[in-house]
Subunit: 211 residues, 2 copies
Amino acid sequence: MEISTLPLFRGIPAGELTALLAQASAREARFQKGDLLLRRGEVTGRLGLVLEGTVHIIREDFWGNRSIVGLAGPGEVFAESYALAGEPLSVSVLAASDGAALFLDARHLTDARLTDNLLSLLARKNLMLTGKMRHMACRTTRDKLLSYLSAQALAAGGSEFDIPMDRQQLADYLAVDRSAMSAALGKLRDEGVLTFRKNHFHLLRQGEERD
Amino acid sequence: MEISTLPLFRGIPAGELTALLAQASAREARFQKGDLLLRRGEVTGRLGLVLEGTVHIIREDFWGNRSIVGLAGPGEVFAESYALAGEPLSVSVLAASDGAALFLDARHLTDARLTDNLLSLLARKNLMLTGKMRHMACRTTRDKLLSYLSAQALAAGGSEFDIPMDRQQLADYLAVDRSAMSAALGKLRDEGVLTFRKNHFHLLRQGEERD
DNA sequence: TTTAATTTGTTGGAAATACAACAGACTTTT
DNA sequence: AAAAGTCTGTTGTATTTCCAACAAATTAAA
């Protein structure tokens, strides 16, 4: 893991990294599988960067049911929103394997290039979240599909495009049942709203030929 | 609208604001109802701050159906994620009334206090989005309710708490039907999972008395 | 090519949701 | 206090979704 190549440190010469990390109160910590790196409720102020291994972001609800709500591998950051917002963690971070992480103090992030990279990181995450939310807010499977496919078409700049997921992944993304989604797709095809073949879709405007 | 009191400019003495705004290539623009402030597809690099009036964040899908996906009033920022990520807009911004906005160039945000405030802003938004997403990803109304209420209980630090929404708002937030949600709540009460009265809820652990 | 494995579409029954309509409880106004 | 308005819970029906199971189509492997 050559950390100078990570998005977080983009634009920062490798030679400056050591000094910059010291300035940010960076602390490297090795962990063993099963270690609890961050605990729900605490206000760390530190954001994590996985150097080696994998960590699980886990959540326990009121009744103690535990579920994995995310994971971070080498080069990925975690708990950054909590650290930067200064909010107590609503999740815990558990080591899923042996490894190592770098912790940076959010209050000591003074380097402009670093904060710019973080802004970019958060902004991108934000856009992905709002986009996904828009689709998921639709009540029916059909509308979720149309919302997603429409957004893909607009992003591609045309009525034909490929999607980067298979049916099961798309169903998970939209939080619907795969078979029901397949049925909804078939119905949309029959109605002349769109055509598709594998991951290639073609949205049809009113009156357009159905291929 | 005294802009020195806004979260975006927190920690910045009013006397420094003028110089700082000039440094960020700030441009104030008055607008009239119906004006299109930002257009889908363009890469502005500018984030907006509403000084006066209201703007609507609108989205047109592939077939031209237009819907309002957000709005910003005095003191609120808009298009900030697009500007900071350097991504083309997937929404348009329309003036819902006469008013004025301040546009700041995302690439000229050099003041550390300003970028810190922006980081905090984005981080908070991020946490709200991920939280909401977790609830909405649940398949059934019942599970969405339990996810939301459990999170509220954990945030409150106890099994009793008040929620800041009425039934209709909660239903909209979870993207479900209000009456169906009410029915699900009633069923949970009958099963001894929780009790509630108006906006006050009490989650019951296994075997706990139901009032 | 043949076989095996994966992905996708389809179907039927069980369950859950949306929708509409309404009654009771609670608030606010007059 | 009375009236008007709002909010909440309940019910019945039509629709939709989930789930399981399976067949067809596609891809990968032998």
